[in-house]
Subunit: 472 residues, 2 copies
């Protein structure tokens, strides 16, 4: 066992004066979670500049048994990147590793370091006439390493998949400090266990992702956007199946917006429009895109709307006539999230099979309304993926603190419905600290045990982000 | 340790009289590999009819330390499903577990048992107006459990991905006989390590896949097929990037056909046509599909051809005017495979980044031609995925046996080029017995060690398909 102080000095030497932060005020942003649910402590924040530096730091930590908390943009919502309160750890922040190592437009790939900001990757792809489709609210500050470690979702999953599906290869520093170079840019490679899958979504508990080879796509040239009003939320997934098939599988978004959320947005968020002549209980924001020109998308969309109107799947609908109008429609989607900040909101990030979305909304709404009349369920989100952000706004005039104190009680009701419908209690945000114990109630015991076996096999000393995702 | 004879008797009782085969003649098809490269031996062939029976059989085998060789349709090309010669094992054939448990057209999923024949799944999906896109030569007899265990590829990967990308959930019998129910039909689920990824492509070495929830897609309604003649193989991937972007990412096939292979087919295979007025050194068979009607695909394709002709990426091209003509074009693709049976052929199933396909073909062709003048490289296959079946037909008039005796020598040359270009020596066929040692020369040592750790963590007694994929 190496003396810890000596180990920390060695680490400082490895990363050089720009590579470590000991000052408490400068450490602050690395210690606090985005929603301020947790505040941790650390021995040292380390900011290595290369894979070799990461490897040397990890090796030294392994020898001295110092736990490591890998951190990207620190925008996660489950406390996965925040250090524990005991302060025995180091925080290893990847932000200085922000080079794009290679772009290959013909292979439709780029190889990027973990600290690259997601929005910068969008720009880099666009410069070679390509699309990197991963897109989410935090894209201006989140890092691709964090996206990979949490298997981030976002608004383009319907067409392009989660971060996992966008990844061809990884470079990982293992818990003993060795580097695994798995940076392949191959669409087909059947030469053994697909190890990268363990690190993707592994939340830094099995190793530190330092670089990745990710997929690019043709850049969309024609985009059509529409907002449709439904009389019955029960029809939403029949409409989805119809839309998916009728548009040549070119749907890029299918977002549910409840009237109650729109009402809040109309009150609180400037620039929000009421899009249709008459109010409808539910709306769907639909987008389709093609990388071809003269793609015929508009005709496909018009025909879809006509049929859906005839069959009374929708009561009304509007197609954006310009990119300006499309922006107005997307503004509604953003405004309903922002509007929820004006009241106490108990949040759920759940998924069910796409065919059960309406069923889920109805059952969960009944469940929470029975418990607390006047509660305002805001069931919105990426329902094309079966992902519902089932947020519960407090009853009008209720005491916010008293309401929020019932968080777990409403979690139990909602997650109970999720379980009945064979869904997931964390669709896209991950486990981290927030749901580490919660998942043990919803997964088979044998699955939790397999997760522990994998953790012990790859990180026998338990120094990689201990206490997150799975407890040993 | 349980007495082995007693264990076998117990297993026979569990599966009942229809569930086991002891007669050597009846066992024969389970012992021989498709290309007759290996012939194994076994104590007993077991054909369980349910997951519970599989679990009981595995539990008994685990107690008695009897190795288990899981087997699907036994169509694999690397010996992964064939029992070892020592005959200490049982073969566990999944063919009786062939129920489709559920189809959900709105969720675009179906849940199927491991023994379902792939072609039957195509039919079941079509009945509900959906597509299950996995498609390969053996689809009339291969089983989905084998497809999953080998992460099968095939001709639709470009659009729809490998079997891995088509899988949402698994049911697995673990090496100790416990059942893991991971049959989820969710597009988004971030609740821990994605364990199913270990079993997909795990070649039965970590457990036995007994059922899966797989993705369906909208059924294509309009399909366009074209055959293009290239003057220079160097242009093939520039043409690919152009085609992918210009067709709205609706390409479903992009297959390379060399003139030499077409010449063989014109001689040997009836019904093969020479598709263009003048011969070209290379051809591309291109297919695009849309699930919409009046999709505008034909216009996109015509514009692509015009531009490619103007820019001299292609010298000539033909678009199929009817489904009959499309069939004729696909017949060429099938005929070039069949024509290779008429001469000695040394085979490679490799992949490289899509941008390096032409580079690979040129370098590998030079390498093998320098070693043996007159050798006839037939570089064909799914080059849209970077996957080349680089088969080497013997020089005209050469002695076939003497030629085939040099298999490893030519493997070394070709795989050497694959390594230089950061490719894979097994793109879609897997590792099995054939490449278990070969991969250790092409992968980092740390990766092989990680694979061993995973194997030991999940199958500490090494009873699941021992000697395949990874050696301990």
């Amino acid at each position: 066992m190496v003396d810890i102080e000596k180990a920390l000095e060695r680490i400082k030497t490895v990363v050089g004066p720009r590579g470590w932060i000991a000052d408490p005020a400068e450490q602050e942003p690395y210690l606090v979670e985005a929603r301020r649910l947790w505040r941790g402590a650390t021995r040292l924040v380390i900011r290595p500049a290369s894979t070799e530096e990461v490897a040397a730091v990890v090796r030294t930590c392994a020898e001295a048994r110092v736990p490591i908390v890998p951190q990207g943009g620190n925008t996660g919502l489950v406390g996965g990147g925040v250090p524990p309160e005991d302060g025995r750890n180091i925080v290893l922040a990847l932000g200085r590793m922000n080079r794009i190592r290679a772009i290959d437009p013909v292979n439709f790939t780029m190889t990027v370091e973990a600290g690259c900001i997601l929005a910068h990757l969008h720009e880099a792809a666009a410069e070679v006439d390509r699309l990197f489709p991963l897109s989410l609210g935090a894209e201006g500050s989140c890092q691709i390493g964090g996206n990979l470690s949490t298997n981030a979702g976002g608004i383009a999953v319907l067409r392009y998949g989660n971060t996992r599906e966008l990844t061809l290869g990884l470079e990982v520093v293992l818990p003993d400090g060795r580097i695994w170079d798995g940076l392949r840019g191959l669409r087909k490679d059947n030469t053994g266990y697909d190890l990268k899958q363990l690190f993707i979504g592994g939340e830094g508990t099995l190793g530190i992702i330092t670089a990745a080879t990710i997929k690019l796509f043709p850049k969309p040239r024609e985009i059509e956007t529409a907002l449709l009003g439904l009389s019955r939320v029960e029809d939403v997934m029949a409409l989805f199946a119809r839309a998916r098939a009728a548009t040549g599988d070119q749907l890029t978004a299918f977002e549910l917006i409840p009237r109650a959320a729109l009402d809040l947005a109309l009150v609180h968020i400037p620039g929000t429009i009421d899009p249709l002549a008459q109010p409808h209980p539910s709306y769907v924001l639909l987008e389709m895109a093609s990388s071809g020109t003269e793609s015929g998308l508009r005709a496909l969309l018009e025909r879809l709307l006509e049929t859906a109107l005839e069959q009374e799947l929708i009561g009304d609908g509007v197609i954006a006539g310009s990119s300006q109008q499309a922006k107005q429609l997307w503004h509604i989607r953003e405004a309903i999230v922002e509007a929820q900040l004006y009241s106490g909101s108990i949040k759920h990030d759940v998924s069910v099979p796409v065919s059960r979305v309406a069923d889920f909304i109805i059952r969960a709404t009944t469940g929470v309304t029975d418990r607390l009349p006047g509660i305002r369920p805001m069931a919105f989100g990426h329902v094309g993926d079966g992902n519902i952000h089932f947020n519960l706004t407090q009853p009008e005039g209720a005491d916010t603190a008293a309401y929020l104190a019932r968080w777990q009680e409403f979690n139990d009701i909602v997650h109970g419905v999720v379980r009945e419908l064979h869904g997931s209690i964390s669709a896209e945000h991950g486990v981290g600290r927030l749901k580490r114990e919660e998942i043990t109630h919803y997964k088979p015991a044998v699955e939790i045990e397999l997760m522990r076996r994998v953790k012990r096999a790859l990180d026998p000393a338990n120094i990689m982000n201990p206490g997150k995702l799975v407890s040993l």
